[in-house]
Homo-oligomer: 662 residues x 2
Amino acid sequence: MIKKYHFGKPYNTEAVILPVPLATDTLPYFEVSAEKGLSFKLKLEKSDAVYGLGEAMRGINKRGYIYNSFCSDDPNHTEATRSLYGAHNFIVIEMGEKVFGAFFDTPSTLTFDVCYTAFDTLRITCENENMAVYIIDGDSIYDIVKEFRNAIGRSYIPPMWAFGYTQSRWSYIDKADVRRIAKGYRDLGIPLDAIYLDIDYMERYKDFTVNEENFGNLPEFVEEMKADGIRLVPIIDAGVKIEEGYDVYEEGIRNNYFCSDKDNKPFKACVWPGMTHFPDFLNPQVRTWFGAKYKILTDMGIEGFWNDMNEPAIFFSQNSVDETHRKIKKMADEEFSVDKFNELKFYIGSRQNCNEDYSAFYHNTPEGRFCHKDVHNLYGYNMTRSAGEALDKIEPSKRHLLFSRASYIGMHRYGGIWTGDNHSWWSHILNEIKVLPSLNMCGFLYVGADLGGFGCDTSRDLLLRWLSLGIFTPLMRNHAAAGTREQECFCFENPEDFKHIIDLRYRLIPYLYSEFMKASLENEMMFKPLAFEFPKDEVARHTEDQLLIGNELMIAPVYTQNALGRYVYLPEDMTAVRMTGGELSYTEMHKGHHFVEIAENEVVFFIRAGKAIPLCKAAKCVEDLDLDTIELVGTGKEYLLYTDDGFSKDYENPANFKTLKK
Amino acid sequence: MIKKYHFGKPYNTEAVILPVPLATDTLPYFEVSAEKGLSFKLKLEKSDAVYGLGEAMRGINKRGYIYNSFCSDDPNHTEATRSLYGAHNFIVIEMGEKVFGAFFDTPSTLTFDVCYTAFDTLRITCENENMAVYIIDGDSIYDIVKEFRNAIGRSYIPPMWAFGYTQSRWSYIDKADVRRIAKGYRDLGIPLDAIYLDIDYMERYKDFTVNEENFGNLPEFVEEMKADGIRLVPIIDAGVKIEEGYDVYEEGIRNNYFCSDKDNKPFKACVWPGMTHFPDFLNPQVRTWFGAKYKILTDMGIEGFWNDMNEPAIFFSQNSVDETHRKIKKMADEEFSVDKFNELKFYIGSRQNCNEDYSAFYHNTPEGRFCHKDVHNLYGYNMTRSAGEALDKIEPSKRHLLFSRASYIGMHRYGGIWTGDNHSWWSHILNEIKVLPSLNMCGFLYVGADLGGFGCDTSRDLLLRWLSLGIFTPLMRNHAAAGTREQECFCFENPEDFKHIIDLRYRLIPYLYSEFMKASLENEMMFKPLAFEFPKDEVARHTEDQLLIGNELMIAPVYTQNALGRYVYLPEDMTAVRMTGGELSYTEMHKGHHFVEIAENEVVFFIRAGKAIPLCKAAKCVEDLDLDTIELVGTGKEYLLYTDDGFSKDYENPANFKTLKK
């Protein structure tokens, strides 16, 4: 049961697409204050839990910290980070036996103080007094999530090849570099389905251009790679370079398609290309225009994209440049003191993604002209909507790979997300475990983290352990930042260890793809906390480093360095599946606590009692998988397999479902 | 057996004070290269371990990362942090059955690549070709540590009151503020032994001055607090403010006591006081001069100090200010482009603690004039040596509290350390667990982290859990940065939970003080990894989130939020001691794996089989502890208690040891 409540005059974010009539009663559960903006307060008992918030730091149970919903490009993801790239305002609150969901639908910044300031008080505050709040009642967390997901619409479904292992780096600089990567994998027999092209494939970072010197005749190169089972996935950034003669820039100027300042002049912000304008993605006409540009690349054979820098990230604005120049002109002729150095240091150091800039440009939306800060969280969402809607028109019968850095609920219908610029830190493996179910709650099913870590230098053991989690995530991408150590699997000693782990991914694809499709078609979660499945089991409720995947599997990845293994809690009897040297072995284990030894070149996962999963033979790419090699493993007798051609949109054809029996 | 090897002409750091003759054979174990500087290489098997490095990130076993010995003021302590505040170049290598220690004694930067670049290779490199290397052979890690510690001299011993709980903040601003803190604790009956005075007690951050407006008549205030069992512990920073009329500045200038630039002019660096000069602590005359200044404060009744900013931290130098001014003068009249903004942003943003500055000043040492960068790691060490040696002269019969941020091995004879500017992150609880034994190996026994976390906002549960570790560390200080949430225990709900935990600390002081004194007098470790005590037990060898304390205790602190408890590995049968609501209960537990529920207001620790520990009644401060209330708990029958007056230096008096029997 979902009910809608309005405060003020809410902006229609189009997150919820199911028509929900306005409730006539007052908002239940929360004590509401509308003194300054809006505040929603709820007292909780010590044993109550708050789940959700999608992409956020800290636990699966969000108690004990403050989170700000404000799409942010801040790569230092520590425990103190309050904002990541997404703004996902859906929570489920478990109060004793009672459980309900709440979605706070506003494009403005929202703060969730989850029993942090006061240890028994959840308080949600927003400076903006306009908001729609949805309350979802149900018998279980699953019921509530399903009801919410039904209201926000079916999650994006990628092509099947996007379930393969993929390799990225900022940046593979030319065709030879890309060929080197492909060869590195193919020579060792490590499966690979895609290589990403980061910003350097473009001509000076201009969207929808290709650097002809390094990537000349791209269509031919796309074909060459595809013949080897490898797709190329280019990046598209939000900012459009200001450059006379560049068609995207000129069309945008001609049609007033860019975000503008208070004087209606296009707002100037420096990002990778230098000074840029931001397409006004909140304007449907702009979405249609910008989205159509993706055809430039699909015409070259490209079948997937990642949208980046769309919080939007701002290195600094023209306003900041001008103000800095004013300051230094004034300072140049004066005595230059410590205080003036500090003033300059502070000013220049605080220009990146600053509030002044987010307050200085405007959008022309269907609901009128809005200052960016009041609709900030919708920007990345609508950039990806622009691409998703366009790709549906460009090649209507075909699925494309599409994912984004910034997001808001609603964007899940158009693309997936990767969890942004993480680091080669062991703690970020654990973070990924914790964020997966929260993202699923908010509709984001096609998700994954940069395996091995984006920032900082990885290590062989870190990459092995992270891949051992990554083989279970829909998006499985190894990605690293410029200046960091090379982290392609073939760069490390004993690459057969990597092959065995990635081979296992491909063996699992029939299962993972089936469970992904079931979750998408039925508005269910693919990654589930033990707390959701075993709500009466106090240990399960507190286990945040294990996850259930689909209806049959449980994972318990190792996320500490130099570990012999780890503790695993089995909430019921399960079959442990151990991969050693590419071979699988099976052990029946009893409900309870276990210490499980897991070497860094091994993978251990668990099949639930009475369940079976399909495993096929590995192949070099998804298209080469032979489903005739499927065997069922586990103590169950049958499994409902989902299969299709991997490209078309005939998802709901009953013929796609097939019960496999032992 | 300790042997010394020289490469080039090593600088005498005075880390090792035992006369060790120069070995006549070649350096064993390592493959040495002297092509560019020095390189020491050693192949390791997968199961071999490398311990040590004192204050460093990552594991107790240091395998899998790179560490730079370079005393650094960098508060963002992540897994990728390669340098912290101390430079502790002692490692113990466990190669199969063989174990040996190595101390790389150089004041220059040293890099330990511990099986990171190549997964089977330890490589230690140094740009400086001059180094003393000590190799220590022995039958066990304990033997080797003891041999090394014997060579570097007895660890610093603080007064007994320094084992009490202490409260700090940057900053308590005046007497009323300090009284408020004292009253906050006393009113709730939470024990407290000291309050720290951070930089604002000084007159505009000038060392050895007192802000008369806020702390007028300090001696009287010191007495007032002491009457309540609370000592005041002021900070001393490394940089001396440049200010005409300020005696420390003027004396330093007059006598050439400051570090100088290449033209022999005092080097100017901006720190808290504004532009300062750095006392040249590597010059013994300067140490004597600066150390004598502490008498200004001891004459006011002060009995303890913390030395800070002594890496030395540099916000920016006068050179950087001048260069910035040159740049902006040039830029002021030109067109101010994106490139110029970026140039200025990069330049100004890279001035803090930059290599250019560390290369731009010099020390006049007994061994000649040295560029700072070549002796960098000795600076904080010699600042604290200056204080320690002086306090021994000022009040020869009395122990003082003294600890430092920056350090090098050798400084352990003069003071303790706190582990610098950590954060209110759960992972920093675990970091503290891991660093304690490594510090002990290097001679640092009086150690502790800022409980609750220095940077960022703490939470009630984080503070409770961190205190539950902190009650076992010699230095037990709650400290927080300016601008963060108040984190004194009385600021949170249900303060009795804090009282119960801190009361337990006081009950444990007879044990902790005894074990600390035994470790110091016998050159032993107080905090021991399970790996050292149970080297044949593979699980124990890999358990890095539990520690043995002294000869009787084991701890297994909770370091995750919202946890029900944690897994604990018992390498032998033990007695679990559980504190709930101030009451203790005891459970016998068997060797093996256990899941132990521990609520956030509980403490659980373990007494080894056949051992007993003394517990006394709690008191409001250490001096009020009544040792007649001691009871022995655990399955053992006796305990060797160390007691003394807590102030004098009559450590080795046999009368200080007393066998307690049940």
